[in-house]
């Protein structure tokens, strides 16, 4: 019996959480430091390393300063939501499980054209890549589906599977609206009510106000702090410093404060930190 579509944004999140919780995922909640994608939450990027089984699901606010449009674009935001699932080792039935999760949010695959179209993922700053698909629903990309092959420059073993649902886009489809600002977040509360003011102010902050000298200093500080954490044998706090470096870099980028050569150098510095942390996390010799 097909389930009715969730009427609100929050109901969409609740349904996905309930579905994956029933499938044995620990719902770990969003991370407390800015991340550009749910992948960067340590519940994914660190826990995909090593042999221990691990299943998790969570919603993640994703912060991408350069994508800000002062709340004037219908679907491009500097702050948006991903729903993230990570399961290690990847189960044999994961494609069917995924399709059942669509059914749980009112999308019956038999009544649509669902396609798995090759799309391989790569995150050079994290020394990570994987193979997989973007999932199409009647021609619209709704989920990124990836088998992690490498993270932090280390071959994954066993392999984790990651599902990343684009929540705003899915909700727009389910609610039949053309702008994310018109989404119903909760009964009587719109997405704009919750986020429009923040989106405008953050766009202005990211593009016009953020203190670039301070950010350069912050990057240096967090980079050094990452090293201190590693020296103290604390890879998990060290990883937070990588995230803070990455966010400082993204803000500097949005401010247009990074020349091309500097840009390459910054990316290289973040990658070196991510590799060092990944190796330390597994108790391996530094790469």
């Amino acid at each position: 019996m097909p389930t009715a579509a969730p009427k609100t944004f929050q109901d969409l999140i609740l349904r996905l959480q309930a579905f994956w919780a029933e499938h044995g995922c620990a719902v770990v909640q969003p991370y407390h430091t800015e991340v550009g994608a749910g992948t960067m939450n340590p519940a994914t990027l660190l826990r995909c390393l090593g042999p221990e089984p691990w299943s998790t699901a969570y919603v993640e606010p994703s912060i991408r300063p350069t994508d800000g449009r002062y709340a004037e674009n219908p679907y491009r935001l500097q702050h948006y939501y991903q729903f993230q699932v990570l399961i290690k080792p990847s189960p044999e039935t994961i494609q069917d499980d995924y399709l059942r999760s669509l059914a749980a949010i009112g999308i019956d695959a038999a009544q649509h054209d669902v396609r798995f179209v090759e799309d391989n993922w790569e995150a050079p700053t994290l020394g990570a890549w994987g193979t997989g698909w973007e999932v199409w629903l009647d021609g619209m990309e709704v989920t990124q589906f990836t088998y992690f092959q490498q993270a932090g420059g280390i071959d994954c073993d066993p392999i984790s599977v990651e599902l990343t649902y684009g929540l705003e886009r899915l909700a727009m489809y389910l609610q039949g609206v053309d702008s994310c600002w018109d989404l119903a977040w909760a009964p009587g509360v719109s997405y704009a009510d919750v986020h429009a003011r923040g989106e405008r102010e953050w766009s202005a902050y990211n593009f016009e106000v953020a203190d670039t000298d301070g950010l350069v200093r912050a990057f240096d500080h967090h980079e050094a702090e990452c090293g201190r954490c590693l020296d103290a044998g604390l890879p998990v706090p060290a990883y937070d410093q990588v995230l803070k470096c990455s966010h400082a870099f993204n803000l500097l980028d949005a401010r247009g404060a990074i020349s091309v050569t500097e840009r390459v150098a910054y990316i290289g510095r973040v990658r070196a930190l991510a590799r060092a942390v990944a190796h330390a996390y597994l108790g391996l010799e530094p790469a």
Binding site: P89, E92, H112, V114, R115, T131, D138, Y147, I159, V260
Partner: protein, 687 residues
Amino acid sequence: MSETLLIELGCEELPANACRVADREAAPAIERLLAERRLVPTSVEALVTPRRIAVLAEGVPAEAPAETLVVTGPPERAAKDESGAWTKAAEGFARKHGLAPEDLGVDEAGLLTATVERSAVPLEACVQELVDGLIEGLQMPKNMRWGSGTLRFARPIRTLCVMHGERLLDAEVQGVRSARTLRGHRVLRPELELARADDYVTELGGAGVAVRSADRREVIEALLASSAKAHDATWQDPGRVLDEVVHLVEWPRVLDGQIDERFLELPERVLVTAMQSHQRYLPLRGGTGTLRPVFLTVVNSHPDADQAVRAGNERVLAGRLDDAVFSLAKDRDRGIEAMAAELDRITYHQRLGTLADRTARLVELTGALADQAGAPGDDRAHALEAARLAKADLASTMVGEFAELQGETGMEYARAAGLPEPVALAIREQYQPDGAGRPVPETLPGALLALAERLDQLVGVFAIGERPTGSRDPYALRRAAAGVVDIQARWGMPLDLPLLVAAAHALLVGQGADLELDADAAVEAIVPFVLDRVDQALGEEGVPVDVQRAARGAGPTDPARHAALARALHAARDDDALARAHAAAVRCGRIGDGEAPAAALAPALFDDDAERALAAALAETAPLIAAADDPAEALRLAGGLADPVDALFDAVMVLADDPAVRANRVRLIRDTAAALMPVGDLTQLQR
């Protein structure tokens, strides 16, 4: 008994390029694996969809028959040592075939033989090897691991079915055991049981899976044609998306969707690109060639879902076209000059600088090419202006949304800025040709810019040590080099490759690029790389490899001149002049490299008229051969040296006893060989 053998690997959705590999390689791989096991099939067919790679081999025997095999080994004389004991070679050979040395025989050629009895081997005993061999035998473009396994394949393998006739054969792939249960179409019929291997195609057909790629393409094209006809139009696929679409569906059907009229104001290329790139839709054109406000899409869904699927696709396309409208408006506000000013913020390549750096190089190279080509002043000026703005559209919002529109977008924005039409056209033509047999620039400014664009790319990427290897050519440098050859063939301008490569290299060095190759190494790597593209084209024309090699012996620096010489040599293959020149070159070539020639020819040391005659002929003909523009004329002149060469070899011993005379004659022979070089290294010709 001989029956049909089926091996099906049920996969999660395979990438289209993996499907193409399987379509090409699976049947030969299984044919080879079977033949190696004395299980020769009557025919083998590969059946590939996004969710399965199957092979059907007809007439596969149930067992490899018993046979007696005589294997030859080392020579008999090496079988025993002086004391008469068996040598290690003989013992090893015997042991390898499970025999004692005493059991070995000797054949007529004097070689040791081992007579090996092979017992019959049932098919069952080889099944696992066949499955493993098939998986390993497919050279997938990108492999992955999954779960806790170690196997590497294009995508996870979830089901396996191996059947011989009605018999299910046992095998496994990373924990998946062979079973009769197959997966059908994901929605139409998720599972089915197979009774006999021979039923595979029909049973899957009934389960909503067209297992032959060729059949799916045929169905898709027929459906597209009838849908197009219903709209009184024809369908088009300029981006060749069907090659991929064939491998995105198991049961293709075609739906049409509407495009809102307001979008028809967008430039046509934008509309078509929005439909084709990413969404893989097919545009329709009416009788007068105008685009219809309709798109066709190939779907894989149940007919009951058509309404939802159509609406969903229409909505996605409208969103993309909204982006295009927004991009166009935003770009119009900025203008092409403002975009060009932003190129110093966009990396071309981390080691080759920004797009502004690249633009500066393109302007210089375009100027150098215009000078070499003797381009008229207007063309030169237009080419330089186009080079200055060539990459501006890479900073546009439009190309950010639709990367395929690079060049096209620059042309439109150049027009909007009121720039001369030849400048606008050259900006678009810089990317031509975009493949073999594709259109080349039709304007001289476009041709010059396109040459500069490719030379800068070739030199830059080679110089940072990223030359293509084997099938790896991530920067499509082979295509770039072939483009240089094609453009020159169309326009006929001279190209001094070593000079141009060195110039491009110097520009990079001048910008402080961090390079792996110095100028000489770059010339040494890139000139032959471009000439290889000429040879490839020559090979396709039917000019054989020995002729290509001979022409390369002339040390070509200009691709068109190399091609002309190779064609002339090929055309003259039956001519007397070439036969004579060839004979002369061969005779000269017999004087080995070990012989030291005199530093210069000394007429005083000649003691035969034949020497004087050859020296005189050389003095007259060598400069003419070197200066001849027409390779056929050069060949004719070279043929004229054959008589004096023959006369010399008949009259004197080149390798005379007197060291001074000998060195002088060797000098004469070397000078003759050098005089023949402009027509190639004729000794390479197979005659």
